[in-house]
């Protein structure tokens, strides 16, 4: 019991630091949504997300956990952002996913995970000329934002039969968004300004899923996630609530040969539920999104499938929050590849994924190269 309490406390702390990646498309509303997928799945365009036990998307997929497992994911991205106001290059390091799972009896698996729900990490540099006391003064603003909404999930999967598994996940949405606004003036008689605020979030969600294996080579999966209202506080002031989207998805996984595995999924999220609330608060609104991802995994060594398999994938995402008034919400396209290996008799694993991402909408364009590294322990 004590171990469970310590583990839970640790995951709450990890949830506060979980983050996705910085982007100019993550400036508005809740930021850039993130699908919590393992590095293995990431290398295949997220295609395995609904079947992969270490991707906390479909709770039923936990049924594929064969032994106690803990994984830690590191993401580093290099990006070039362009918008009507300029061009900038940057990079950032994030820790998007922590996952632990273990067997609870013969047919049941339980897990806890901390992942990114949305990430609003960015820094904006703004320059303007104001007329102060009859004189023109150039002002230089910098707005830093770090953090976002984190998703702490407790889930379990149950193997109903050899062909069907179901799962249930409870989600605690938490985290904070720390803002640091700074201004300095070209005329030093005006004092610099610094304001620090924090938005903190709290909400609950529920997810259910199933995995069905109609034939030996084919698996089907589906899940539904219902998130409640997200309560928002600015420092200590209550800012009310935001409706969160309903998420549902379906996918299939096909193994045409013993050494080739292909998978894909469609996931939709009803972000437009936030549209009215966001506009009422002075924001630019939100739109529904669809995500398509697919990829394959080729096992180079049939006798040791975990030894440097080759993973390839493509992904297409719609983004929910327009970066600016009068601009669409944006799209994200990505191609990825990955590999991995196990060591210490299968007790340790290291997976790598490299993803090239393009995001664009209107005059906003972004290219990113993301390197994802996953370390797993299976005692």
């Amino acid at each position: 019991m004590r171990r469970v309490a310590l583990l839970s406390a640790g995951f709450v702390l990890l949830a506060r630091s979980a983050a996705g990646q910085s982007s100019e498309f993550g400036v508005r509303a809740l930021g850039l949504p993130s699908l919590p997928v393992s590095v293995r799945s990431h290398g295949a365009g997220g295609g395995f997300a609904l079947f992969d036990a270490e991707s906390p998307v479909n709770p039923a997929s936990l049924v594929f956990v064969g032994r106690p497992t803990a994984t830690f994911t590191l993401l580093h991205s290099w990006r070039t952002s362009e918008n009507p106001f300029g061009r900038a290059t940057g990079n950032d390091t994030q820790f998007p996913l922590f996952f632990a799972a273990g067997l609870i009896g013969r047919r049941m698996v339980g897990s806890v995970s901390a992942s990114v729900y949305t990430d609003r990490t960015f820094a904006l540099a703004l320059e303007d000329t104001l007329t102060l006391r009859g004189e023109e003064v150039v002002v230089y603003d910098t707005l830093f934002s770090r953090g976002g909404v984190s998703d702490l999930r407790v889930a379990a999967a149950y193997s109903v039969s050899s062909r069907l598994a179901v799962g249930l996940g409870l989600h605690l949405l938490t985290g904070s968004n720390r803002f640091d606004s700074r201004r300095r003036h070209s005329d030093s008689t005006y004092a610099p300004v610094r304001v620090v605020n924090e938005l903190s979030f709290a909400g609950l969600g529920l997810s259910v899923g199933a995995v069905l294996q109609p034939t030996r080579s084919l698996q089907l999966a589906g899940f539904l996630r219902l998130d409640g209202d997200l309560q928002i506080e600015k420092d200590t002031a209550d800012l009310g609530e935001l409706n969160l989207p309903r998420t549902m998805g379906g996918g299939l996984q096909w193994a045409p040969t013993r050494r080739l595995l292909a998978a894909g999924h469609v996931i939709t999220q009803s972000w437009s539920r936030l549209d009215g609330d966001l506009k009422d608060r002075g924001g630019v609104g939100a739109v529904n999104t669809t995500r398509l991802g697919g990829g394959l995994e080729w096992l180079r060594d049939g006798t040791n499938p975990a030894r440097f398999p080759v993973r390839l994938g493509v992904r297409f995402d719609e983004l929910p929050f327009p970066p600016s008034e009068g601009v669409g919400a944006g799209r994200e396209r990505a191609v990825s590849l990955g590999t991995g290996f196990r060591f210490a008799g299968g007790r340790g694993s290291l997976d790598l994924a490299l993803e090239r991402v393009w995001r664009d909408e209107g005059g906003f364009r972004e290219r990113a190269l993301a390197l994802k590294l996953g370390v797993g322990v299976r005692p």
Binding site: N83, G90, L143, N197
Partner: protein, 399 residues
């Protein structure tokens, strides 16, 4: 897994963690500005009506930092005096007290400030009655500074900005500083100046950093030790003062600073709630409108100091040690005097804000030709005011 692979993986992880983040993207408000455009506002806050007052009596004759002497300037006529310690009629030697013979005497006067644009400046030293003290009037002193009382004058070189002026008397001239027995060896001198045009000077006082005038007597004594035969008797200033006419302009509808005894002023304001609790002041300027041209001495640094107070006890309020200072007041200027008082206004903010009071004084206090007079809230127009420029904090909750 080979050690090589493990080392490679470890190096990769450490390498990524060691990367320095760079997040910045260029943006523009309101297009790409989630908190909205920061709003800058400007407000002019007049002093609370009837709450601005001047109080007199802070620096008296005993505490003056310099002596003023002038001749014909608009800031007024000023004369000064020094009174020296009594000179003994014997000196103590190895052979006991011995009488002495005077070779020469010298009077040194520290010059603190002069107008460097004025040529042919001369400082005149007159012998005056040793009974002179702070009860003397300007007329009483001025009538003593006549040809018959003149000891001598010191020509001040045109290039000298500050330093010690020295007058040496010997031979027959010693009779001008002879100290009769009835005066008990005591000397007092009055000081006036003249130049090719109206001007003034500031001279050192007993409280100034350069010290006051000194009366030196070079003597000879008849003792066996030849190295002790020549000595110098140094008589420092024991009292000094100056008198200036006309007296400053006063009136219930005006605010005045400086003078002797010196005046200070208290101004009370009430900042709006938005500045008190959320807006961020980026500049706050106190503006004072002179009621008459600022009369002073060219090249003489004089400024107004503004301070906050811990508690408002009126004239007995205890001002902060830290002060904010105006630029040097310009003689004959009638421009609005501006003082940046941002740090004082910032101290008024918050639930435990300090009293919204600005405490004004003149620097150097009690030793400046400037005696500025400003309009008050009781004047028909031009009362003190603070111009505050502030920023409303960004609304980061705006998505």
């Amino acid at each position: 897994m080979s050690r090589r692979t493990l080392a490679l993986g470890t190096a990769l992880v450490l390498g990524l963690l060691a990367c320095q983040e760079e997040l910045t993207v260029r943006g523009s408000c309101p297009d790409l500005c989630p908190g909205g455009t920061p709003v800058v506002e400007d407000i002019v806050l007049p002093v609370l009506p009837g709450s601005d007052t001047s109080h007199v009596g802070y620096i008296s004759h005993a505490g003056i930092p310099a002596l003023l002497v002038s001749n014909g300037i608009a800031a007024g006529e000023a004369r000064a005096w020094y009174r020296f310690e009594a000179r003994p009629d014997t000196v103590f030697t190895d052979e006991g007290y011995k009488p002495y013979t005077i070779d020469s005497v010298a009077l040194t006067v520290p010059l603190v400030v002069r107008d460097t644009l004025v040529k042919d400046l001369r400082v005149y030293l007159h012998r005056v009655s040793y009974g002179i003290d702070t009860t003397v009037t300007f007329e009483g002193l001025d009538t003593l500074l006549v040809e018959g009382s003149l000891i001598d004058s010191i020509a001040v070189h045109d290039t000298l900005r500050r330093g010690t002026l020295r007058l040496v008397l010997s031979g027959d001239a010693l009779s001008r500083v002879e100290l009769p027995a009835e005066d008990s060896g005591r000397l007092a001198v009055g000081v006036r100046v003249a130049a090719d045009q109206p001007t003034g000077v500031r001279l050192g006082s007993t409280l100034s950093s350069v010290g006051a005038a000194t009366f030196l007597t070079y003597i000879r004594t008849d003792v066996a030790d030849t190295s002790r035969r020549r000595q110098t008797l140094t008589m420092p200033t024991v009292a000094n003062g100056y008198l200036k006419v006309p007296d400053r302009v006063t009136g219930p509808d005006l605010l005045y600073l400086g003078g002797l005894p010196s005046a200070r002023a208290l101004l009370r304001f009430r900042i709006p709630q938005v500045i008190r609790d959320s807006a961020i002041p980026i500049r706050a300027t106190l503006e004072l409108e002179p009621a008459e041209p600022l009369r002073g001495l060219r090249s003489d640094f004089t400024a107004i100091q503004a301070r906050g107070v811990g508690a408002d006890f009126g004239a007995k309020s205890s001002p902060d040690l830290l002060f904010l200072q105006s630029p040097s007041l310009q003689a004959e200027g009638q421009e609005v005097v501006s003082i940046d008082v941002l740090s004082i206004v910032e101290s008024w903010r918050g639930p435990r804000g300090r009293p919204q009071v600005i405490y004004l004084s003149l620097e150097p206090e009690g030793g400046s030709f400037h005696e500025p007079v400003f309009h008050s809230s009781r004047s028909p127009s031009g009362g003190p005011r603070i111009r505050i420029t502030y920023v409303l904090p960004p609304r980061v909750e705006r998505p």
